[in-house]
Symmetry: C2
Subunit: 103 residues, 2 copies
C-alpha cells in the first residue's frame, strides 16, 4: 500500500506544496517527520466543534492525528506511526480536514 | 478573589490530596506549576466525547485547560495564566471534570 511508505524529504517538500501554506513539516521530539497546522478559531467552542469534525474524519479514515487545544488555538499534527514518518495518507488527511475549518 | 492567588508549593501538595490520585503537579516548559491528568478512553470517539464535555464545563466556568489528544489518551492540564501558577480555581475545575469521564 503506497500510502504506508514514508515520504523522502524531497517528496515531502513537493507534497507540502499541494497543501495550504499553513501546513508545516517539522520534526517531533523523537526527530521523526510530522506535518502540523495551527488553526485559530474565533471562539473557544468553535474550535471544539472543529476538533469534533476532525475526530469524525479521523475515525472514518482510521487515521488519527494528535490534536492540541490551547484555548482558541488548535494544533493538528499528522504522521504515520507504523512508518515512523509522513506518508501520503497524512497528506490526504490534511487535505480532508482543511475544509472542515470555518474561518 | 481568593481563587486567583497562586497556591504555594505546600498548599498545592495539600490540595492535590483532595483530587483523584491521577492528578499530578508538574512544571510546564516555562517552569510554572500546572496540574495534569491523563485519561485513557476505551475508544477514540469516547475520548472525544469526554473532550467535548470538558470543553463545555470549561466554557461554563470561563476557565479553559490545555487538552492534548493522542488517540485514546487525553491529557488535561490546568493552571491559571493570570497568576502564573495553580490556583484554587484549577483544583475546582479538576474536581468538576473528573465525574465527566466514563470509565
Amino acid at each position: 500500500m503506497v500510502e504506508k511508505t514514508s515520504l523522502t524529504e524531497s517528496e515531502l517538500q513537493d507534497k507540502l506544496k499541494e497543501l495550504a501554506p499553513e501546513w508545516k513539516a517539522e520534526k517531533n521530539e523523537k526527530g521523526l517527520d510530522i506535518i502540523e497546522r495551527v488553526y485559530r478559531a474565533k471562539k473557544f467552542m468553535e474550535g471544539i466543534d472543529f476538533v469534533q469534525k476532525v475526530a469524525e474524519a479521523a475515525e472514518a479514515n482510521n487515521h488519527h492525528p494528535d490534536i492540541f487545544i490551547n484555548y482558541k488555538r488548535i494544533t493538528v499534527r499528522y504522521w504515520t506511526h507504523s512508518s515512523s514518518g509522513v506518508t501520503l495518507a497524512d497528506v490526504q488527511m490534511a487535505q480532508k480536514i482543511d475544509p472542515l475549518f470555518d474561518k
